[in-house]
Symmetry: none
Subunit: 196 residues, 4 copies
DNA sequence: GATGAATGAGTGTTCATTCAT
DNA sequence: GATGAATGAACACTCATTCAT
């Protein structure tokens, strides 16, 4: 009865959605959300303006979809760095953060830029808040195992520092001495257990 | 209708310019650059739209003037914290940074948000780059005096960390444990000379 | 996969057409023609957008079909009120008009609203004009039999009045005193023969 | 100080406002509110789209302004027809209504068309409701003085009839026999007192 | 016969900027 | 120096219509 099967339609939908999401990420990440127009996204995705609205209710919903996509990727990465040795886990974590920053310039820029507009995008605030809490708890636990005195504040410092790096890498790109900083950080935090 | 002296004109110019700059800073800081219109600035400064364009070539030039103003204030602050004892100077510096962040929510937000658009605002890139270099050099010198081994990287870490705090305070406002973090930071960096 | 007979196809066609027409009537009547989208009609008729265009050339042609449908219903009603006694026929007519208005809020609204756009919908103009002529002639004939002096103008007045009620009922809904008005109207027009 | 005086600005504003209001009335009245775009109004008023929004917050506010303008005119007319003799006043009223309909085609069409969208335009509903109440009371009073038995319902009938004429004139324009209908109406209602 | 993905012209609205005075 | 009326390009979004399957 139907001319195309459900599966065929699904394929088409997915392909178009993907093209749009990728274009949106690219542009939101490089120019920022406000400075990117739907027309630009459509053009970059080689698609009509109207189609964007077939798949996403509004520009803001498109942004939400882009961010949600990213978050899922983030979760997967965390699981891969667990290790029986807490020092090793922390080292993995640090290395992963640094590597991610080196490779995901546009996502990084998008996330930082959104963090300046938390009031406007409630969903970002909720998401960031939840992520940050999980983040902090994990770090605190690790640092406790590594016998840090005030693990809670140390975790805060480490988390703050990670985002500081995100900001600086975003601003300076390759000029930021990621390797040196990473090494010193590992020295400071992952060699602690042996010292104490 | 007595003709006005040059000085009088100059006074008027300066007063109007100041009113506009203040309104622009306030609005750019709270709503963001994109979301603030020239009409809003003019209204808030109790001035006509046309007058804004008499003093500033464009919205972007107005932004530039606002940022320049901020930077000058920053320079003044640095001079006030110098102390013969490097540990004391560093402590002053840390305290000043923390205090500024606690008190200047909107400026902080404006600066962070501009840092995400360095490609668009070339003058911000140049400015930030120059400031950062001076900043880093000053920190490196201090840390060297405090006998840190790799003072260059430590300076980088400290600068990165400051901006990380800026980012987190902007996001979390009063919820960020500024005091605890500040204390731990002072312990880590300003007690070094006595230890070594 | 048995081939379907012509009759079966015809049945399918008719069923789909009917569903679409009903949905369109409902939506045009409640939201208005401009404010109703083809997508809404298709959804409400549980049919694809494409199918609507299989059966109706355009949105405007669909409207035309809807209106034609309505008109046929109107014709059927007229035949049911004929009576040997002209006074009785007129009374039937009045009562039918009032009852229809009380029961067909949405159709009434659609027709009035279309009458304000006669220039745009030529077919409505033609249709309305033809209907009105027949209407007037019937009324004139009746009133002549009831010995009204200037039956032509009286017929015009009655017809005008009917549409005035349509307008007011549409605006005021239940607040309009349909019963009182109906009674007075019957008194004025259907008791004439006994007086003269 | 100011380049143009307040009065000059006021003049300019008024002239532009008037041009826009006139164009809007013309187009809303002929094509309807929905079918008229701001672009069309601006073009017809020989003005930029942007200017329309300088003077009117939104398309709906523009409509409101147009309608309010009309209503004020209506009020002025009522006062001019009062007469010590109620029969004469009623006659004046009838004549005024008929004359207004003959001369104000577009306003009439606009008002009828808005009456089909009372739910959408709250301000029209409020306005119409208030006008109608005053209208009915005045008619009732007049008819009471003229010794009509059920003056309340008669007033309702007259008011309904007026709007019926409005509807028919709007549809048929010059083809509607305004004069004959007017004469018969005056005969029916304004000769009553002498008979009784 | 039937589907719904895709298009593009059009909508209401905003706003940086210009300019006559 | 100062005003605000005026412009026009741009924006987010809608929707009648087409078409490959």
């Amino acid at each position: 009865m139907s001319p195309r099967s459900k599966a065929q339609f699904e394929e088409i939908r997915e392909a178009s959605t993907k093209k749009i999401l990728e274009a949106a990420l690219e542009l939101f990440g490089t120019r920022g959300y406000e400075a990117t127009s739907i027309a630009q996204i459509a053009k970059s995705a080689e698609v009509s303006k109207g189609l964007v609205y077939n798949y996403f209710e509004s520009k803001e919903h498109l942004l939400e979809a882009v961010v949600m996509d990213l978050m899922n990727i983030g979760d997967e990465m965390v699981e891969q760095m667990l290790d029986p040795d807490p020092a090793k886990t922390l080292e993995n974590l640090i290395k992963t953060v640094f590597q991610w920053l080196a490779e995901n310039d546009r996502l990084n820029r998008l996330l930082v830029s959104l963090s300046t507009q938390l009031d406007r995008f409630q969903f970002v605030r909720d998401l960031a808040s939840k992520k940050m809490d999980g983040y902090l708890m994990m770090l605190e636990e690790l640092l406790q195992k590594l016998d840090f005195e005030d693990a809670k504040t140390e975790a805060r410092i480490l988390a703050t520092f990670f985002d500081g790096i995100a900001l600086h890498v975003m601003m300076m790109k390759e000029e930021y001495p990621l390797l040196e900083v990473q090494e010193m950080l590992i020295n400071k935090y992952c060699k602690n257990s042996t010292v104490n």
